[in-house]
């Protein structure tokens, strides 16, 4: 298909190469240097989408990231990406895109019926309509709303591309590489600062790329080239084209999304990240993001062919595309005259509709000289054409601009280039908590004050002339570098540029038409979310006059473009309604990201196996080889159970439980937290940390301890061994390891700095194999030559050092099963070999390796608690029936005082008890509530089940729970109603010990 709208010899495109692409199923041609939007316009494609609510035909409106209409679904399948703006999508060979938000096609769109029914779709339509009946909310309304909302489709497959994150620091970060940004980079770079210059586009130069200007007596191109070359040669300057600074956070932390390969199209090699997400900490920032032209609010201003005057000029000069053959420029500003002149020069028929009754100045003279007709003091009162614009109506306006003076007359046109003034792009400044002020002369918000070290320059600061942009950029670059410690702050000399004189502008916020507002014709201000001036009037009538309410009620500015072209117009309309000034209406807060950013980029490499770390013990390869099923315990992958052929979890666990008690069992306990505590005050310290007494503990002996917080509640437990007079080895729960280490350090550093104690975490220094059961002693005897393993000489709660299975070991006689047990600690490097040796030797002793589930059952049989499962931060040692561990002799330990507070000391608190179901085969679900009498809810609950298992060694189900006044209720019958609302289990409360109540097995 021919590129019917190309302008001969114009544009920064490479005509020597042709790229083919597919739009909406049809094939077209473009050139390197094109965007999808410019290539579509070059091919005469006008209709690119349907609007959000009314499904009105829409065309390309801008040439930048502010585009509200040409939001397309790029590519297909796993690589498809919604909400892509055609105006910034660089063309590549084979690009495929389609419009979104229309079905079945953009040409014939069923949703367009909404347009005919538009009077039934007022602002707040969804809030008003989908209210009742309530039962339809989820099954019907949600689906309807989602489908109608459109907004593209997410891919359903894994993203085949890779992404990366990159942390960077710099002295000066410059967002925007137009004239001001380039000048700033030059000044800061010359001062020697570390500079990052990021720009959205593939080329630096910004607005200069769309202009025909001279800098220093040369075409602007030459200046850009020279400047970029100088910057490239600076070692400490990083140039990031195709990189959007997406967010500005606290303490000058900014993020930027670099599109590394997007312009090349889908890549076969996914090694190179498609996008790189930069996390930048900058000492100083310079915001040079430029400005965005404002559309004018006139009747039916959304036809395909209506675009911003600056965009039309960009298409002509930068892309060599004539956006229309008959162009009407509609403006109240001089700047749009440049579009008219360039369009005329490119061969278009051009007329200007100027809101000003008597425009004067050099540009106006030039337009007149070029033979362009100017309809002064006029406005466009309506447009014609549905899928493409083919004409407009023009009429003279009254002096106040609120009504028509003359009768409308028609002009033929296929493009209306609209210039309603300029809004500095203040998004990043606003995200940085910067305050804006309204500039009455320029009729726009400009940056005012920001607590963060940032400077706004150029058009983004309301400085719209080139000379000003360059001067500001150079000054800011030098000043920022100085503030970061580089240079003397003196700005380099600015290059000479032609001074552009512009006459005064006329702002008419709502251009009147021949019909009252909201009747028959629509004045759109938010094109993406389909919000009109009439909607704002309706919102105001219904009381939503606060800008925050207005935004949410009408959805203005809430599209993926975040209202880049619409917000100020919306505020102006509300100001008119309220008879207030625009700044009194206020602004909404701009939120990150500045443009839609793919989740892939934000996520970077943190996905799939790298999404969350999986911590494994030194024995892990053996567990995998032995077919373990793993349980996630925090970040740890711990063997849950080891199924044999054909076993399910229940069968495997029952077998492991039986065998561990009948012969012997082996557990990987490496994940337990371990802390080396030494110093003359170590025993004193343990006395404060634990509830029981430690100063009398003999060297070589171990003791169980409970740790409380200052609220008196249990938060961790474990066994601690006295290795030497002033040296202890503490163990903690797996999940509590880091927390306990932090707790100890906090007290030592902040409260007791004079106490001589050092804590060193040794959790992963030691791999731990626990052997338990009647045959444990015989197996241990085979594993070591230098430790006497006889329980008579190596008593319970003591430790020995020696060699086990060839590795240097610390062996502890501690038991979490209640059986004779040895906890073998070896340096981690030997964990695997010791484990496999124990498995080999254990065979003859009936050894079974077991996982965490069996560990839980065995400890529950003995009524041993698991901190964090049987406790929840509201449980005291007394609530656990463990009064014996709370020293009555100590004056103080952490949490002690809280035990005397009225609520902690009172009778009837929830207490840990055993729970036996009437039917021994019923295993209560953990979390099940117990009640006094079953019945219709609500029923007062007495407590809940914390641990519940089927115990083969007890021969029935067992459970524990925290029950109100539980200790006094032992022997009582209670009820456990189930979630199905029907089943109720009768249970009896008992002492929480189910197996070997005498404790006779501990020594074999």
């Amino acid at each position: 298909m021919s590129q019917s709208h190309r302008i001969e010899g114009k544009g920064r495109i490479d005509r020597s190469r042709t790229l083919s692409f597919t739009w909406n199923g049809a094939r077209y041609m473009g050139h390197p240097g094109d965007t999808l939007a410019s290539a579509l316009l070059a091919n005469g494609v006008r209709l690119v989408g349907r609007s959000f609510k009314y499904h009105r035909p829409r065309g390309i409106m801008t040439a930048g990231s502010e585009e509200p209409n040409a939001v397309v679904q790029l590519e297909e399948g796993a690589r498809t990406e919604p909400n892509t703006r055609a105006t910034v999508t660089e063309l590549y060979e084979g690009l495929t895109a389609r419009p979104q938000n229309c079905w079945p096609s953009v040409e014939f769109d069923i949703g367009a019926i909404n347009s005919k029914l538009s009077r039934f779709f007022p602002a707040g339509f969804y809030y008003k309509t989908f209210m009742w009946p309530r039962k339809l909310w989820e099954p019907v309304y949600e689906k309807v709303i989602r489908k109608a909302a459109g907004m593209g489709e997410s891919p359903m497959e894994w993203d085949p591309d890779s992404y990366a994150q990159h942390f960077e620091h710099c002295d000066v970060l410059i967002a925007g590489g137009g004239p001001a940004g380039l000048a700033a980079a030059l000044a800061a770079g010359r001062a020697g600062a570390r500079v990052i210059l990021a720009d959205e586009g593939p080329e630096f130069g910004g607005s200069l790329l769309s202009d025909v200007l001279e800098v220093d007596g040369e075409p602007a191109d030459a200046w850009i080239e020279k400047t970029v070359a100088e910057l490239q040669a600076m070692e400490e300057v990083t140039l990031l084209p195709r990189t959007t600074v997406t967010a500005y956070y606290d303490h000058n932390f900014l993020t930027a999304c670099e599109r590394v390969t997007d312009h090349l199209g889908p890549q076969v090699d996914d090694g190179v990240p498609r996008q790189r997400f930069w996390k930048i900490r900058a000492r100083q920032t310079i915001l040079a993001q430029g400005s965005i032209e404002r559309p004018l609010l006139f009747a039916d201003n959304d036809r395909p062919g209506v675009m911003l005057a600056s965009a039309a000029r960009t298409y002509i000069n930068r892309y060599g595309v004539l956006p229309g053959r008959e162009i009407v420029v509609f403006t109240g500003h001089d700047s749009a005259y440049k579009t008219a002149l360039d369009a005329k020069a490119a061969g278009a028929k051009v007329e200007i509709v100027d809101l000003r009754p008597d425009p004067k100045g050099p540009l106006i003279d030039k337009a007149r000289a070029a033979g362009i007709e100017i309809h002064a003091g006029c406005g466009i009162t309506g447009t014609r054409g549905t899928k493409a614009l083919h004409g407009c109506d023009v009429a003279e306006l009254s002096e106040d601009g609120k009504s028509l003076k003359g009768a409308p007359y028609s002009l033929g046109c296929d493009c209306i280039a609209v210039g309603g003034g300029w809004n500095p792009t203040v998004h990043l400044f606003s995200q940085a908590r910067g305050k804006l002020k309204w500039d009455d002369d320029k009729q726009c918000f400009v940056p005012h004050f920001c607590q963060q070290p940032t400077r706004s320059v150029g058009a983004g600061n309301g400085t719209f002339d080139l000379a000003g942009c360059l001067a500001e950029g150079l000054a800011a670059g030098a000043a920022a570098a100085k503030d970061a410690g580089f240079g003397d702050g003196a700005a380099p000399e600015a290059p000479a540029v032609e001074i552009e004189e512009e006459g005064p502008a006329r702002q008419v916020w709502i251009v009147p038409s021949d019909k009252p507002l909201g009747h028959g014709k629509k004045h759109f201000h938010d094109h993406q979310n389909d919000v009109t001036a009439a909607d704002i009037h309706l919102a105001a009538r219904e009381g939503y006059i606060s800008v925050e309410h207005l935004k949410r009620y009408t959805t203005t500015g809430m599209g993926t473009d975040q209202g880049k072209t619409s917000n100020v117009n919306a505020l102006a309309v509300m100001a008119e309604i309220r008879g207030a000034q625009i700044p009194e209406v206020g602004t909404t807060t701009f939120r990150p990201p500045y443009v839609p950013t793919p989740f892939g980029a934000v996520t970077g490499q943190n996905r799939r196996a790298l999404f969350l770390q999986e911590r494994t013990t030194p024995m892990h390869p053996a567990h995998v080889a032995n077919g373990a099923v793993f349980e996630d315990v925090g970040d740890w992958k711990r063997p849950w159970y080891f199924p044999k052929d054909g076993e399910d979890m229940e069968e495997a666990v029952q077998r492991e439980c039986r065998q561990a008690r009948e012969t012997c069992g082996l557990l990987d306990a490496s994940t337990l937290g371990k802390i080396d505590i030494q110093g003359p005050d170590a025993a004193w310290f343990l006395n404060m940390i634990y509830t029981n007494k430690w100063d009398q503990l003999k060297v070589g002996s171990a003791r169980y301890g409970l740790m409380l917080n200052e609220h008196g509640m249990v938060f961790d437990d474990g066994v601690t061994t006295r290795l030497a007079e002033d040296h202890f080895h503490m163990t903690t729960t797996t999940g509590g390891a880091a927390r306990v280490m932090g707790w100890l350090e906090e007290w030592l550093q902040t409260e007791w700095p004079d106490r001589r104690v050092y804590c060193t975490s040794v959790t992963e220094q030691w791999a731990v194999c626990t052997i338990t059961g009647p045959n444990a002693k015989a197996l241990m005897a085979e594993l070591t030559d230098d430790i006497d393993v006889d329980p008579a000489t190596f008593p319970f709660l003591t430790f020995r050092e020696g060699t086990v299975a060839g590795a240097p070991a610390r062996v502890f006689r501690i038991s979490f099963t209640g059986d004779l047990a040895y906890e073998i600690n070896v340096p981690a490097r030997f964990g695997l070999s010791v484990w496999t040796t124990i498995l080999e030797r254990g065979y003859r002793h009936g050894l079974v390796q077991y996982g965490t589930e069996t560990m839980h059952v065995l400890r529950a049989e003995k009524g041993f608690i698991i901190a964090g499962q049987d406790t929840d931060g509201t449980v005291t040692p007394m609530d656990l029936g463990m009064d014996w561990i709370v020293s009555k002799k100590k004056d103080d330990f952490l949490g002690r005082r809280s035990h005397f507070r009225s609520d902690t000391a009172r009778e009837g608190r929830k207490q840990l008890v055993g729970i036996l179901t009437e039917d021994p085969n019923v295993v209560l679900p953990e979390g099940a509530h117990l009640v006094e009498k079953p019945g219709r809810p609500p029923i007062p609950m007495l407590g809940h089940v914390t641990s519940s298992y089927r115990s083969p060694n007890v021969g029935r189900s067992i459970a524990m729970g925290l029950i109100k006044d539980g200790r006094n209720r032992i022997g009582e019958t209670l009820y456990a109603p189930m979630m199905d609302g029907e089943t109720v289990h009768r249970v009896t409360l008992c002492e929480p010990v189910f197996f070997d109540k005498e404790g006779s097995r501990t020594n074999g």
């Binding site: 894994w158 890779s162 990366a164 994150q165 990159h166 942390f167 960077e168 620091h169 570390r194 996914d270 090694g271 990240p273 996390k279 970077g604 490499q605 943190n606 799939r608 196996a609 790298l610 999404f611 969350l612 770390q613 999986e614 911590r615 494994t616 013990t617 030194p618 390869p621 053996a622 995998v624 080889a625 996630d632 315990v633 925090g634 970040d635 080396d676 030494q678 110093g679 003359p680 999940g735 001589r756 050092y758 060193t760 040794v762 959790t763 992963e764 220094q765 030691w766 590795a807 340096p827 981690a828 490097r829 030997f830 695997l832 070999s833 496999t836 589930e853 839980h856 499962q869 953990e926």
Partner: protein, 227 residues
């Protein structure tokens, strides 16, 4: 069962998806034990070679965590006598002396690297020399392993997950710091820097996190595989 943690809930939610391992990670040879029956956490893994970034495990470096009061001159003197060099008191510095590498970890905390097998004698010497002086010398040789990252892109690879400023103006040979690499706590030391921008880092990582960091490096280095 305790209340399922976030990992479990995510695993349950993601169960419908296959979760392939990151490409570029080399499979572990199961249970590769050396003659002494020892195995390092990254045994059998081979990193990229020859490209602009290489990395490899440096297993079994002797590591002694030493705590003591730098304002106690008898502590400082006794430690210096054993090590042959004074413990660095300038933050974020390490020094090499006679086979020992002594890192400042905190104002009263040093990490001393020693050749494999020398950690036991070193700890014994320290404990003997510091007898009666409040200190803690703890063998943590197996708590951590070290991954050496080198090459032109070594810094770029590190900055994929480490928020520390590793630019030559902020970091460099002789500097070390405790920091993070995404979800993993690391201790990074810069060993060398060349004029062409190449850097060499030793990254100390806990045993259980070593594989995560290794896989992250392997995945991150793919972009330079063709270079």
């Amino acid at each position: 069962m305790a209340e399922p943690g976030v990992t479990q809930r995510l695993a349950a939610a993601g169960a419908a998806f296959a979760n392939p391992p990151p490409e570029g990670s080399t499979p572990a040879t199961p249970a590769s034990l050396d003659a002494a029956g020892a195995r390092s956490p990254l045994a059998g893994l081979v990193g990229p070679t020859g490209g602009p970034v290489t990395f490899e495990e440096r297993p079994f470096i002797g590591k002694i965590s030493l705590r003591g009061d730098p304002s106690n001159s008898s502590f400082m003197t006794a430690a210096a006598k054993v090590l042959g060099a004074s413990l660095p008191t300038e933050p974020l510095r390490f020094l090499d002396h006679d086979g020992y590498r002594i890192h400042w970890v905190g104002p009263d905390h040093w990490m001393i690297y020693a050749p494999e097998g020398a950690e036991g004698p070193l700890k014994a010497k320290l404990d003997a020399a510091l007898d009666g002086i409040h200190h803690a010398a703890v063998d943590v040789s197996d708590y951590y392993t070290v991954i050496r990252v080198s090459g032109l892109k070594a810094r770029a690879l590190m900055q994929k997950g480490c928020p520390l400023d590793l630019h030559p103006r902020a970091f460099g040979p002789g500097k070390c710091a405790g920091t993070v690499f995404h979800h993993a706590a690391i201790f990074a030391a810069q060993i060398d820097a060349l004029d062409d921008g190449s850097a060499v880092y030793d990254v100390q990582i806990r045993w259980s996190f070593a594989r995560y960091l290794w896989d992250y490096f392997a995945d991150g280095a793919r972009e330079w595989a063709g270079a």
